[in-house]
């Protein structure tokens, strides 16, 4: 009681000071909030080795046969490469602690293999870079690419472009990528020299799709573009009511993508005319998967929809236990799907019936990757899982968080 009285005795000034300090504390908490590990790179594969960006700023090459035998890392063909940071040494200190001058490097884009190189797109706060690494063994010395191995970075030196979230695509020795600076870059994949660039005018966080000499890409300014792959000239563009959330998938005469107003679009690949739309319960975030006349689209409303590619008519839908962030894969007659909570579903492509379900230890947001019957999963707990789609068994698990 005494304390209460004393409290009431205090003037408003003191009370307001207390409340403001409380606010400041809650603000400090907000400022500190954030995921511990960032990035959601999928896998690229060549000569039996998987390449991917880790959730702690590294690129890894892992050999599935070495992993299945439980060999010590690194085994044959395996390596780990710390992506060099861009920025001056030293740090800036504020009231809530010190921030390093060079922001941490994250990898959201799935790497791509081009000849003897594996190309990784980086995200470091506002800046990004393309880093081409010798895929047999990285030759980088103190962050500088080894020219004799054909390694390169774009842009070279300490220069950078906007941060990269969408995965690069390589077609006929040309690498295409979109950047947060709003530009689409086409680079020579062997030498890392720029062939052309196209400014879309707004941030790009999605991947391009390239088919028959046309680069399809969207930006967060509600626009979708078709560019000539040879010189980057604009073939056509469309503006939609909402921004485009997913990367596009091209099949037949249509381009499929999801938007932030819960729609899945099918547009004509020659002029961008909208052929049909389908409404889901949330964003269609993952890239649609198309096979024959069926589009499989994972949605953040926890569902995957199978739609007729020609009409947009729903064939079936399946409800998972949580959001579907990662892009699903097709393995024979199965659609393999991962929910954010860490469950992997094997669904019959004909009717969406669940054949089997596997639960792994960590959340899944990175796209799945399949080779024959094996599905590789890069989970949020910094582990890679090899799952047999036919049996549903986890063949092996490799946690790179253990690597020193």
């Amino acid at each position: 009681m005494n304390k209460v009285v004393k409290f009431f005795k205090a003037e408003l000034k003191k009370t307001s000071v207390l409340l403001l300090l409380l606010l400041a504390l809650s603000l400090a908490n907000l400022g500190c909030a954030g995921p511990a590990w960032r990035g959601w790179s999928g896998f690229a594969s060549q000569d039996g080795v998987l390449y991917f960006g880790s959730m702690d700023g590294k690129v890894l090459a892992i050999n599935p046969s070495a992993r299945s035998q439980g060999a010590t890392f690194p085994g044959e063909g395996e390596w780990v490469f710390k992506i060099p940071t861009v920025g001056a040494p030293g740090g800036m200190c504020g009231p809530l602690g010190c921030a390093p001058a060079a922001p941490p490097v994250d990898v959201y884009a799935t790497p791509v293999v081009a000849g003897d190189l594996v190309c990784v797109a980086t995200y470091a706060d506002q800046s990004g870079k393309l880093v081409a690494i010798d895929r047999l063994s990285p030759g980088y010395t103190e962050g500088v690419p080894l020219r004799s191995k054909g390694e390169w970075t774009y842009p070279s030196g300490v220069k950078s472009i906007g941060a990269i979230v969408g995965s690069p695509v390589v077609v006929e020795s040309t690498l295409y990528v979109g950047s947060s600076d709003g530009k689409v870059y086409a680079l020579d994949a062997v030498y890392g020299e720029k062939k052309w660039e196209f400014n879309t005018g707004a941030k790009i966080w999605t991947s391009p799709a390239v088919k028959d000499g046309v680069v399809y890409i969207s930006n967060y300014g509600h626009k979708f573009f078709a560019l000539s792959s040879t010189d980057g000239s604009l073939l056509w563009e469309i503006e939609l009511p909402a921004a485009i959330a997913s990367s596009p998938a091209v099949s037949g005469e249509k381009v499929f993508f999801g938007t932030f107003d819960h729609q899945l679009y099918a547009v004509d690949h020659t002029n961008g005319d909208v052929k049909w739309t389908f409404e889901g319960g949330n964003w269609f975030w993952s890239t649609p998967v198309v096979k024959g006349d069926v589009v499989y689209a994972g949605c953040l409303d926890h569902r995957v929809y199978a739609l007729k590619a020609s009409t947009g008519e729903e064939i079936w839908q399946f409800a998972a236990d949580s959001q579907i962030v990662s892009t699903p894969v097709l393995v024979d007659n199965l659609l393999v799907l991962a929910s954010e909570s860490g469950k992997i579903y094997m669904l019959k492509v004909d009717n969406g019936d669940s054949e089997r379900t596997v639960s792994i230890g960590g959340p899944i947001v990175a796209p799945l990757y399949a080779e024959k019957d094996t599905v590789y999963v890069h989970a949020r707990n910094r582990c890679v899982y090899s799952v047999n789609a036919q049996s549903g068994e986890i063949a092996w698990k490799f946690c790179y968080s253990d690597i020193k």
Binding site: M1, N2, V5, F8, K9, E11, L12, K13, T15, S16, V17, L19, L20, L22, L23, A24, S26, L27, L30, G31, G34, P35, R38, W40, G94, P95, L96, A99, Y108, Y123, Q126, V165, A202, K203, W205, Y220, H222, P241, A242, A243, T259, F260, D261, H262, G281, N282, W283, W285, L300, Q323, V325, V365
Partner: protein, 291 residues
């Protein structure tokens, strides 16, 4: 608990902010300004009540100090006398506390909404999807354009402009409501607080997203305007920081209890003052709304 907070408070504020941004040509900076104005207007009656209570409480200070000195050794009697004084003056010591407590969750929700809506990283954007309504205006507005004037709203302002504005406006607001204290210790604490808080928030501005700092500036400016109209001027901003010691006060035996007659006079005066302030603020309020 977190889910309840998200459903009842955070999500309505977050979605309104994003929808507002869509209506204001995709300008998130303008949306922050407009929403801050709307929220402060909704809370205006509470702000007015708070200001009234503060004024009355301040007018009771001499009497309060007197009672404290008089019954320093008898806590129970002190409480009784204090309650009696508050009752007679027609104010509740909680009167100035409740409005602040009610406003607090709304401010925190606004902070959180601004941070979440800006979705600076891909993970932030993804997690935003869990808090959005299926309103067309919301779907069409995300992801938000973070550019406003010279600012990137999800990043701290690289210039000192916003930090100075936050600190400056907060100092003015603090100064307007802080009465000069007679007690030198109280006075030095007051001046330290008046200086420390703006300085602290000014420093926060250097490391927080400028969208939040923009909200602080707008909120402070509105606070100053409301204060100006309710109290009818710049308040203690113009008053000297240390009041001149009255000779009577100097010589007056501080320990000597006030005669009963004088005590009742002070109380009567406070009560009258309370009524006058209430009447005046009612008129001001009407005037304000008319405007």
């Amino acid at each position: 608990m977190a889910e309840l907070w998200n459903t009842i408070i955070l999500e309505p504020v977050l979605n309104s902010l994003i929808a507002l941004s869509g209506l204001l040509f995709g300008n998130f900076g303008l949306a922050i300004i407009v929403l801050t104005v709307i929220v402060r207007l909704i809370l205006l009656p509470l702000t007015i009540r708070q200001t009234q209570s503060t004024k009355v409480m301040q007018s009771l200070q001499p009497k309060l100090q007197e009672i404290q000195k008089k019954y320093a050794k008898n806590q129970q009697k002190l409480q009784q006398e204090m309650m009696k004084m508050y009752r007679e003056a027609g104010v509740s010591p909680l009167g100035c506390l409740w409005p602040m407590l009610i406003q607090l969750p709304i401010w925190i929700a606004l902070y959180q909404s601004i941070m979440q809506a800006l979705a600076a990283t891909p993970e932030n954007l993804l997690s935003l999807s869990q808090h959005l309504y299926s309103w067309a205006a919301v779907g069409q507005a995300v992801p938000l354009n973070e550019h406003f004037l010279w600012l990137r709203l999800s990043r701290p302002d690289p210039n000192l402009i916003l930090a100075i504005l936050v600190g400056g406006t907060m100092w003015v607001q603090q100064k307007m409501v802080t009465p000069p204290a007679v007690d030198p210790r109280q006075q030095s604490m007051n001046s330290m607080m008046t200086l420390m808080l703006p300085l602290m928030f000014g420093l926060f501005t250097l490391s927080f997203p400028s969208g939040l700092a923009l909200y602080w500036v707008v909120s402070n400016i509105i606070g100053i305007i409301i204060q100006y109209f309710i109290t009818g001027g710049w308040g203690y901003l113009r008053a000297p920081s240390v009041p001149k010691q009255m000779p009577a006060q100097k010589t007056a035996p501080a320990q000597k209890p006030m005669p009963a007659e004088q005590q009742s006079k002070v109380l009567k005066k406070a009560s009258e003052q309370s009524k006058t302030i209430k009447q005046a603020s009612e008129e001001k309020k009407k005037g304000l709304f008319r405007r």
